[in-house]
């Protein structure tokens, strides 16, 4: 609750700070201060020191899971600001406006993490998306950026329409906007939904699948990620994406989890398609930025597994996976936004020029590939474990399929490592400041701690307050 309110307030503060402050550099500091305030607010939420106890007629609920997820988002955003703050301001003249939009996106993420009512879900997704359409087109003079923005807006509003249709169907059938299907009279058990509700939740799956770029609704992703300014691609691919994921997770794995018979198979197909298309297409990319956008599709396939299995292992996996995915992707993009040439050849010989940055990027890539001792491995571990725990033959084949896709992913992540370490060349890149290096080291330490002591660092951290 605190975070929701504070992020809105800070967004407005950031907006007006642009009018008051003429010097650009200060905006980053105000934004970082804002993130620290939000983190304090999050700790307040955990230890029950809140601004208001209202839950808006039970339309929002703040469970430990939601709060833990919001903490992940906040820490990831903090690192994003620390690593990419200068680049955000460098995109255009209105540095503080970009920050304001990012804080509004955070409001949307909080809503979609805490919704208890489908209207709030709609609100959350929209509040999250609309600032993003603007951020995508932030590079006003660049035609590719404009194209990406328009494309994203058109496709995004279309998917919003589908989502509303889905919600309407469910409302028409059950007469409620509640996240959990209403109980039947006389305590009867319902295993299958009626046709109307089934169509409704499949439509919701399509719309949310679009937001998290799951195949076959992923076609916008590479163009938009490629066209948007690199700093905002980093933001889109991490915080916004997992923000949409949590909405997805809450609806299917918490709200309608008992109705698995109605959506389980469809979800399994979506997972398999996402893993296949994401990984195979990423292999053929020649640009690291495009590779990362396809990699984000492939990683989405793994996160979807948590929704499919909706057991406790899956829930832990969801948290660890999203945390390590966000951190690692932010780490890779921090380097990408410094490079002028995004093709793989552009990275040749980087290890000689910037050994520390090459090392941190390598660890981020190893985490994305799922090598032990990194958070990425543990995320994959939990996902596979939850699938194996479900039992069943379909799940077993899906596990094997997921593992083979993970092996394919090694191919494209290691191409970047090979270019940096084993090939000769002179990379063209902007200078890397000392502060950025310290930030990257901190990020990498966090990724490794996530892979070695996940319970103390993440899953149980609320016990310390």
């Amino acid at each position: 609750m605190n975070v929701l309110i504070l992020s809105t307030i800070w967004g407005i503060v950031m907006m007006f700070s642009g009018v008051v402050l003429k010097k650009n550099g200060l905006a980053t500091y105000i934004a970082i201060a804002g993130m620290l305030v939000l983190l304090l607010g999050n700790i307040g939420d955990v230890s029950n020191v809140v601004i208001t106890h209202s839950s808006f007629n039970n339309m929002l609920s703040f469970t430990p899971f939601n709060q833990l997820f919001i903490s992940i988002i906040l820490v990831a955003t903090l690192f994003y600001f620390l690593l990419s703050g200068r680049d955000i301001e460098a995109v255009g003249k209105n540095g503080s406006d970009y920050y304001a939009l990012i804080f509004f996106v955070l409001t949307g993420v909080c809503l979609s993490a805490a919704y208890n009512n489908m209207l709030m879900l709609f609100l959350g997704i929209e509040v999250m998306s609309i600032p993003l359409y603007i951020l995508t087109g932030a590079d006003k003079k660049n035609l590719k950026s404009n194209e990406a923005s328009l494309k994203y807006f058109l496709m995004g509003s279309f998917s919003t329409g589908i989502m509303l249709l889905g919600i309407t169907f469910i409302y028409g059938d059950t007469g409620s906007f509640g996240l959990v299907p209403p109980p039947l009279p006389f305590g009867m058990l319902m295993s299958h939904l009626t046709v109307l509700s089934s169509v409704g939740i499949i439509l919701l799956m399509v719309a949310l699948g679009f937001k998290v770029s799951a195949a076959p609704f992923h076609f916008w992703t590479p163009d938009v990620y490629d066209g948007a300014p690199t700093v905002f691609t980093s933001f889109m691919a991490t915080i916004v994406k997992v923000g949409a994921f949590v909405a997805f997770y809450r609806f299917f794995a918490q709200g309608y989890s008992s109705m698995e018979a109605s959506w389980g198979t469809a979800m399994a197909v979506v997972i398999a398609l996402t893993l296949l298309i994401g990984n195979l297409t990423a292999v053929f990319q020649q640009s690291a930025k495009r590779m990362m956008s396809y990699s984000s599709i492939a990683q989405a396939g793994f996160i979807l597994i948590a929704i499919y299995t909706h057991n406790e292992l899956g829930q832990n996996g969801f948290l660890i996976y999203t945390a390590s995915y966000c951190l690692a992707t932010i780490g890779v993009f921090a380097l990408l936004s410094k490079m002028s040439d995004h093709s793989f050849e552009g990275f040749n010989g980087l290890a000689k020029k910037e050994p520390l940055v090459a090392l941190t990027t390598t660890i981020c890539l190893l985490s994305l590939a799922g090598i032990p001792l990194t958070g990425g491995f543990l995320g994959k571990y939990f996902m596979l474990a939850s699938l194996v725990k479900m039992g069943g033959l379909l799940q077993f084949y899906l596990t094997i399929f997921a593992v083979l896709c993970a092996a394919v992913s090694v191919y494209y992540y290691f191409r970047l490592i090979q270019a940096m370490y084993f090939k000769e060349g002179e990379p063209v890149m902007a200078p890397i400041s000392k502060g950025l290096k310290i930030g990257l080291v901190g990020l990498v330490v966090l990724i490794i701690l996530l892979g070695t002591v996940p319970y103390d660092l993440l899953l149980n951290w609320q016990l310390f307050f």
Binding site: L384, A385, V403
Partner: protein, 478 residues
């Protein structure tokens, strides 16, 4: 405590090596570390107190895992091999120069730490961690310092083993889910009663990972390329020590946990191993490159060891145990000679060599000794192991043994042909320039020769060391 030191010393010293600016300092520092590790590993094989041989700490206990390592007979012999190997490798290649030496030596020590972890881990998840982590430094070593095709070749190697280990991860997870104690510990896996159907699935999930690592025909295609393209010191680690990861995996993580599946599939595995032996020997005969020839001969040797493991009888397993150590020593000796030739003449092609015995008698003698040990001549250490393994195979099925026996003859053919082409015959303009072995190489090769003959005549200590492992495995089958 000793067990923990075996992992910690190379890990910590390896980490420090990266910060050494001077290449020579890094070299001496890593040599000192390797000697310290060797000392600890000798102490660990002699020490019998369980408190020194095991170490357990709390780690990821919510998942059912723990940081537990322990030295048993097989662990001891492999730890000793790992300790000896690194010293041999570092001393024998002491005069070689590498670009970026501190990173090179640091990665070499990291790979030793990873290997030690694989050999010592008694917890499934920990084993998996070390299994993957042993691979990363070797990947960077081979890709960074290898031959001209190194990037593509080591990448193939990496993807191959990564696929295998991910399948093993699924196997571990499945095993963990079935385990009523909800733990990853090896002891609890040994207590499990699995149905035949479960064992069949799990067997393949685990075995594929180990078969790729050994490698067993038809999963061996990464091996000759990788051995050829890696820098020779890494090839020594790969062929001498790393292939033993696969064998240890089968002996410790497959045989006792899935006895019925082993019985079910023993003919397939032994058949593949034996076919691989003959196939690799035939290809080895056609090789002109020394490294590729040794690489293929290694496939044949490992094939025999894998076949002997799956016969699951005491004689064969005992043979495998001694051979784990002896094969490592011998092949490292052979690599040292090959590396010496390559460093001096810049070629490994047999067709370009000849007449080395005239100018470099020391090198010629050593090549002959190592080659004879490699074909398992009586009185060399390899003879004991191979004899026992063939005996085990004979008791299992005479026909397998007869077919596998072909590889002994073929082995003698290609090895002696190599000796003939390299050291006898006419000198040419290139080989006239050769100088004899340097002092450090002579010392190391003399040391290996002593080991070859001592263990060839008196293998008793190696038997005693590994008896407990053999007995405990056989006990699972009675």
């Amino acid at each position: 405590m000793l067990a923990l030191l075996l992992i910690l010393i190379p890990l910590v010293t390896g980490g420090l090596t990266f910060f050494l600016k001077n290449g020579n300092t890094a070299k001496i520092w890593s040599l000192l570390s390797a000697i310290a590790t060797l000392g600890i590993s000798i102490a660990a094989t002699v020490e019998k107190a369980p408190s020194m041989r095991t170490f357990t700490a709390d780690w990821l206990s919510d998942l059912g895992a723990s940081f537990s390592i322990s030295i048993d007979g097989m662990g001891a012999i492999l730890v000793l091999l790992t300790g000896v190997s690194l010293v041999l490798v570092l001393v024998a290649t002491y005069n070689n120069t590498y670009k970026n030496p501190s990173a090179y030596y640091g990665l070499l020590l990291f790979s030793q730490a990873g290997l030690m972890g694989v050999f010592l881990a008694t917890d499934g998840l920990l084993f998996y961690f070390f299994w993957e982590l042993a691979l990363i430094p070797v990947y960077f070593l081979s890709s960074g310092w290898g031959g001209e095709r190194r990037i593509a070749v080591t990448f193939k190697f990496f993807i191959y083993t990564f696929v295998g280990s991910l399948l093993m991860l699924i196997g571990l997870l499945y095993l963990h889910t079935l385990n009523p104690e909800g733990s990853f510990s090896l002891a609890s896996f040994y207590r499990m009663k699995l149905s035949a159907g479960q064992q069949d699935v799990l067997f393949w999930l685990f075995f594929v990972a180990f078969a790729i690592k050994m490698p067993i025909f038809p999963l061996h295609t990464w091996q000759p390329d990788t051995y050829e393209q890696s820098p020779t010191s890494v090839t020594m680690i790969l062929s001498g020590v790393m292939v033993k990861m696969g064998l240890l995996g089968v002996i410790r993580w497959v045989l006792p946990i899935f006895p019925e599946a082993v019985h079910h599939y023993e003919n397939i595995v032994i058949g593949l191993s034996v076919v691989g032996m003959v196939y690799a020997s035939l290809i080895a005969m056609r090789q002109d490159d020394l490294k590729r020839m040794v690489a293929y001969s290694s496939i044949a040797h490992i094939g025999l060891m894998c076949a002997a493991v799956f016969t699951v009888n005491g004689i064969g397993l005992q043979g495998v145990m001694v051979q784990l150590f002896n094969h490592g020593i011998n092949i490292i000796g052979l690599w040292i000679v090959v590396d010496a030739i390559e460093q001096k003449l810049g070629t490994r092609k047999m067709s370009e060599l000849g007449g080395l015995a005239i100018k470099a008698p020391g090198l010629a003698i050593m090549l002959v000794i190592m080659s004879l040990a490699n074909v398992a001549l009586p009185l060399t250490n390899a003879f004991i192991g191979e004899f026992l393994m063939f005996d085990g195979l004979y008791h299992f099925n005479v026909w397998y043994m007869a077919f596998a026996g072909l590889s002994i003859i073929l082995g003698a053919v290609y090895t002696l042909r190599m000796v003939q082409k390299v050291i006898y015959g006419k000198e040419n303009s290139l080989t006239r320039t050769i100088t004899d072995l340097s002092l450090n190489q002579k010392l190391i090769l003399a040391g290996i020769t002593i080991l070859i003959i001592v263990f060839g005549v008196y293998p008793e200590p190696l038997f005693k060391m590994t008896q407990d492992t053999v007995h405990s495995i056989i006990a699972q089958y009675i």
